[in-house]
Subunit: 275 residues, 2 copies
């Protein structure tokens, strides 16, 4: 295979298989070439990936050595995306009765969702994560987007146990926004004991749902290594129970009377320096 | 930018932006090169995409002309994937009480989910689709995977209306498996009138849930152009109410006594010739 064709094949392979360790002989075979040619190809791809702020190829030598694509948005790319998101969310047409914010259009756009996943995966790039956990429903697409870049599975906690998932563990928790006691369920089979978990959700106010997830995960002896929420909102009545989280945007004011929304960038911006 | 670098940049661009129409001057600018060089690059990429069974670049000439990447798995790639899926599902350890099949591990794996999306997107490659609709919860990741290849948004019908989505339209339907009357809700704002819809779900038995979705979509004057279900199961007691659908696998027998599962390939295999 010619270099130009190999570059297309290899680029596609890395983008479809982030964080997958590959030994060079595999590429030598599929590209019908030599190890030194593959090595030069990888240098080119690594250079472009870095220049574009898309991450880098991690090479390792010795027996079992090889290469792995680590997707990591540059801070600049992440900041630009968060800023665009922030502006879109400030559109007053998003205000719903009760001061809620309509976000379903953004969460329904696969490209936006994928970019949110890329930003979180970049922020948590150096954290040990075995599995992404979210709770139905709106966090699900975000969880998959993060998982696809980190190359780990997704486990979904539900508010209603389903017969088709076997035996399960459940807990009760108090949801911050509705102040109701709710149930959260995770199938027993879904999580290994001691797993390193990243929690992803779309929205956090007082943090009741995330606290519920943490408590539920404790039943599996899981280690919560990272928490990512797309949007956080101030809760004046209640102090936040969760501190160690990463948010992309912060809803600081929804003024129904003056039809105005104020959105700031989330704590991602302060907490994450260049990755 | 050198050709080798351009090939990496362009390949990345197409994979991240399927079905997006781009005029060549855009690439000329970001790659700092000439139109004829870009044109040659596109020929190389198109050739590799086709050889790998990943789809093709669709070129158009004249004013406003440009290029679009159409992801389309070759029939061979799709068949191979369905066969692997079929074998994984036949594992007797998947049998749950009541004769249900544990699939959450496969639906929790982002790579498997993405491939399922790719197969459906390839099957519906020539159908006019504006939006993917699914119902919470398990169909959601599949819906996003299909949507990401078709470059269209996802709309999620819920079984419980949420206050954060504004006014909504709801219908009642009879779920085939539980025989209970259930409610399905779609926010009014989520779907334009007359939209061309593709319904995606993980599982279909008698087809009650899908019928519910069709009835709900009728309230929006939507046109259901395609229906894709990952797994269908025979329902001996009830005749299927939906006929025009595409399934990847078919659960033909779950024998609890002999601890045996029989999975056949779905109707995709008969219905879809090479794309």
């Amino acid at each position: 295979m010619k270099r130009s064709n190999r570059l297309v094949v290899l680029t596609d392979f890395f983008l479809e298989n982030p964080r997958k360790h590959i030994q060079l002989p595999y590429f030598v075979t599929i590209c019908e070439t030599t190890k030194s040619s593959i090595s030069e190809d990888l240098d080119i791809i690594n250079e472009v990936f870095q220049n574009q702020g898309m991450g880098y190829l991690q090479r390792s030598t010795g027996a079992g050595g090889g290469v792995k694509y680590i997707p990591a948005f540059s801070r600049e790319n992440s900041m630009q995306f968060i800023e665009e998101l922030r502006k879109k969310l400030e559109d007053p047409a998003r205000i719903l009765p009760g001061g809620y914010l309509y976000m379903s259009d953004l969460l329904g756009d696969p490209r936006t969702v994928r970019e949110i996943g890329r930003v979180f995966a970049s922020a948590f790039s150096k954290v040990k994560i075995d599995v992404i956990v979210t709770v139905a429903t709106k966090g699900i697409p975000l969880a998959y987007a993060v998982a696809s870049f980190l190359n780990v599975p997704v486990v979904i906690a539900r508010r209603d146990p389903k017969v088709t998932e076997g035996s399960s563990v459940s807990i009760n928790y108090v949801s911050g926004s509705s102040r109701k006691i709710q149930t959260m369920v995770l199938p027993k089979r879904s999580l290994e004991e001691g797993a390193n978990v990243c929690i992803i959700d779309d929205f956090m106010k007082a943090g009741g749902t995330i606290t519920g997830m943490i408590n539920l995960l404790a039943e599996f002896d899981a280690r919560v290594q990272a928490i990512g929420v797309l949007a956080e909102a101030d809760d004046e009545e209640e102090e936040r129970v969760i501190n160690n989280y990463t948010s992309l945007v912060k809803i600081t004011n929804v003024d129904i009377r003056h039809n105005k929304i104020e959105i700031q960038s989330g704590n991602y911006v302060e907490n994450h320096t260049d990755s």
